[in-house]
Point group: C3
């Protein structure tokens, strides 16, 4: 009847189902420039062709999180249009750098299903893979969301909860072909600290804050062809507020983390992530990081596992994450666990 | 004396006059990215080089309406700087896809003149053609505007009202060379509906809404080098509001129409258009379409003639256009009549 | 201890010291498009590859001020993070056009130091040079800023005030290799006036005004990787306002100056500049220019020395600059003295 996309409801998913998401997207110099205008991004490997070539790559790849957002955006109409909540990420791995001119598309496989006891909704786990124009996978991650049922009378599927790794093992990280930090120019990169200079447990306050405008998060979210109504339509929520796409906060916090982590050049894995509280225009976002782990993954190349926390407000909150009740503090926006590559 | 452009007044136009508009513009990947950040654009042919190549083109062309805005923008300093009203469009035809790296310029021929009975203003009809760097026409359309007279005593020109086609005939539509929908991948395009699935008279509610910010419409309008003061200068109107460029509403509505018309890949003609009511920042724009006509224009390729209506507000208004008085409803922003190409 | 950049204080500078600034940046078509969306830029040489090729160049270079902002932005973390005031510019010369794909980096040499009599701060003069990926200089300028001392007890350095040219001499201007205005198409450029049509002392009111939004100046300032907190963080100043990067006002005023100076195609030198008053979102910016000097610098090519003044408010203020007390009027934002190339 209607030709528009109503989104999928909980009973529309079945275990093992593969969804080929719509609208492939060519990413080029324009998307790179937009990304660098939207976020205070300064990681040299993504900023300079010359620097990236000195690191053994063919040129500056598209920013890691821009790839994530593009792959993620395509899944929204099929996965999260009727989502009640975005519950988590796991096993995210960047498999190949993406360069200007590449075309990305996404596919998701349903790997878990669990109806909620109230019978009104359920949790869906999908493993999403982003492919380039040669059908080479560039990114893979698991995401789980709570989705409404269309018909509360629909029978519950058999419960299947996937067995997900708490973190991606260091030996499973994919190091981009050719990458080397041998002639690494730390002065041009912005900071002298190498992986060896960071200690597990160390907390870094990234100092700077950025106040978000409506136009900015909408430009960003549209650029990734994310169609969730709540980001764009001020009449959608009762309070008249547009909820900012969680990925916008990730990119903002990651860019802010340059100040103190300038050599954490490339994200290679996302171990876990929680959007702890909603973010709205007018919020001033700050960030802190905690070093969770380190591993040498190739000669001269270390992987550093980092917790990246975005907070809101005039004051930095380094090290503050949860209250006595174990819940995220109200001004914590993001708690992201990722691996980045750094000179060892 | 003054070296600045005062714009042309009604008595500065003469029948048959050709105006070569200033500032040629090279359009590249950056403009494409900006277009996709400014509008929730998802038509696969303009989003993906790979998809466009599969459709027989050399890559993803620049979005149809981006070409229109670029060609239109150049005419503003010569045609509409002193315009009282933008009255209509007719006989718009896209003649050749525009690709990243092409340089566009515009020329207009005065094809009609009619002084108003009050002697203070008159209507000017121009046929504008956009050319690429090889002087190949890429777009042609007729537009008419009401323009103030500099000197109300200036003699009225002979009245000439051009004979304009109500709609571009299907046989006059230009199908891009090489275009084919033979191996069309509807799943990647986002929807299964082909032209055959649409019925004349059918109304499609495009569901989604987008709230417009000042920064967004100004970024867009500047990108097309449109210089009309009313879009940029909050001190220009007495109410302190900046009027949003009508083309911004067209692009927004066209992008929203993806949801229900995902396969209406390319606009090939603009038959008529009216900016029914002014649009301002803060407005939430929705859209609906009506199928007006269909024609098979090449093997496997159908042209679908569509009415695209943009409305304002929290509620969708599918099918609602005019009041009992025959006038556009106050929340109708745009009434556009165009032909698009679709798999047959 | 802390790994973040605290910025340099007055006592961290020494005469002759060279600072190699971080984060090289590749500039491409995306940055060009962003620049043209952020500013009402219409100078044909920067807008059209075809026009630029007709003027003897390889294509449209990146806009002169975009190059300036990129080179300048890199110096902020090392030069002005703890600056109290940006005091002036001198001896700015554009040495080579920058094209899409070039990678820029910056170096500064400390050429002057003078501690203030209060012992709490001092003035630092640096000569900054921007280099491309082949280490060819593309821009050089002197800038001086007032910087806080970390420790007021630190000894004062010997005072050295550099001997700076009041203006760049016409014979020191670098004319881009191959540049010719022989077949110059003034109609396409937008105005008929050549250098010969301008008289020294002539004042041009550029008529148009642009109201600035927070999102716009932040997108722009981030694009140049300028990290000064005051532009981005609404919690930084006590009044909750974000100060707009002075370069944003320069680019806006320069773009507005097209209306009356459409043939002042390329800036080749910056003789002096003062950010007379702070600019904030919501301000409507206008501009006027005064012709200060003219010189023929190559066959058919003239350099025109211009004062570009940006003002704020609903009214244009052509010719108004300082009050009876000799101070800038409160609505004057910018007083810039530069050389531009124009058909003779």
């Amino acid at each position: 009847m209607t030709k528009t996309n109503p989104g999928r409801f909980f009973e529309d998913y079945s275990l093992g189902q593969t969804i080929r998401h719509a609208v492939p997207r060519t990413i080029a110099e324009g998307e790179r420039a937009m990304y660098h205008a939207l976020y205070p991004q300064r990681f040299a490997l993504y900023s300079s062709d010359a620097f990236a070539i000195d690191c053994g790559l063919d040129g500056a790849p598209l920013d890691d999180m821009a790839v994530f957002h593009t792959v993620f955006g395509k899944t929204v109409p099929d996965v999260s249009l009727n989502a009640v909540a975005n519950l988590g990420y796991a096993e995210g791995r960047f498999l190949k750098p993406v360069y200007a001119g590449d075309t990305l598309r996404s596919e998701s496989e349903v790997i878990g299903l669990k109806q909620n006891s109230n019978g009104k909704s359920g949790v869906v786990w999908v493993r999403t893979t982003g492919y380039d124009q040669n059908d080479t996978p560039v990114l893979s991650y698991v995401r789980w969301v709570m989705v409404r049922k269309r018909d509360t009378e629909a029978p519950a599927p058999e419960t299947t909860i996937p067995d997900l790794a708490k973190t991606v093992a260091a030996e499973d990280l994919v190091i981009p072909e050719g990458l080397t930090f041998e002639g690494y120019d730390a002065e041009l990169a912005g900071e002298p600290h190498r992986a060896a200079d960071y200690e597990v447990g160390e907390v870094i306050d990234h100092v700077d804050g950025t106040t978000i405008e409506e136009a900015e998060h909408m430009l960003a979210t549209r650029l990734w062809q994310n169609t969730a109504k709540v980001h764009f339509d001020a009449t959608f929520r009762e309070d008249g507020k547009r909820l900012i796409y969680g990925g916008h906060v990730i990119s903002l916090a990651r860019a802010l983390s340059f100040n103190g982590l300038a050599n954490a050049q490339m994200i290679v894995a996302i171990n876990a992530g929680a959007h702890a509280n909603p973010c709205f225009a007018g919020d001033t976002v700050r960030a802190w990081s905690e070093v969770l782990d380190k591993a040498e993954v190739a000669p001269g190349i270390a992987a550093v596992r980092l917790r990246l926390v975005a907070t809101r407000g005039a004051q930095a909150m380094p090290g503050q994450l949860r209250g006595e009740d174990g819940k995220y503090l109200p001004d914590v926006l993001l708690d992201l666990d990722y691996w980045a590559l750094m000179p060892a």
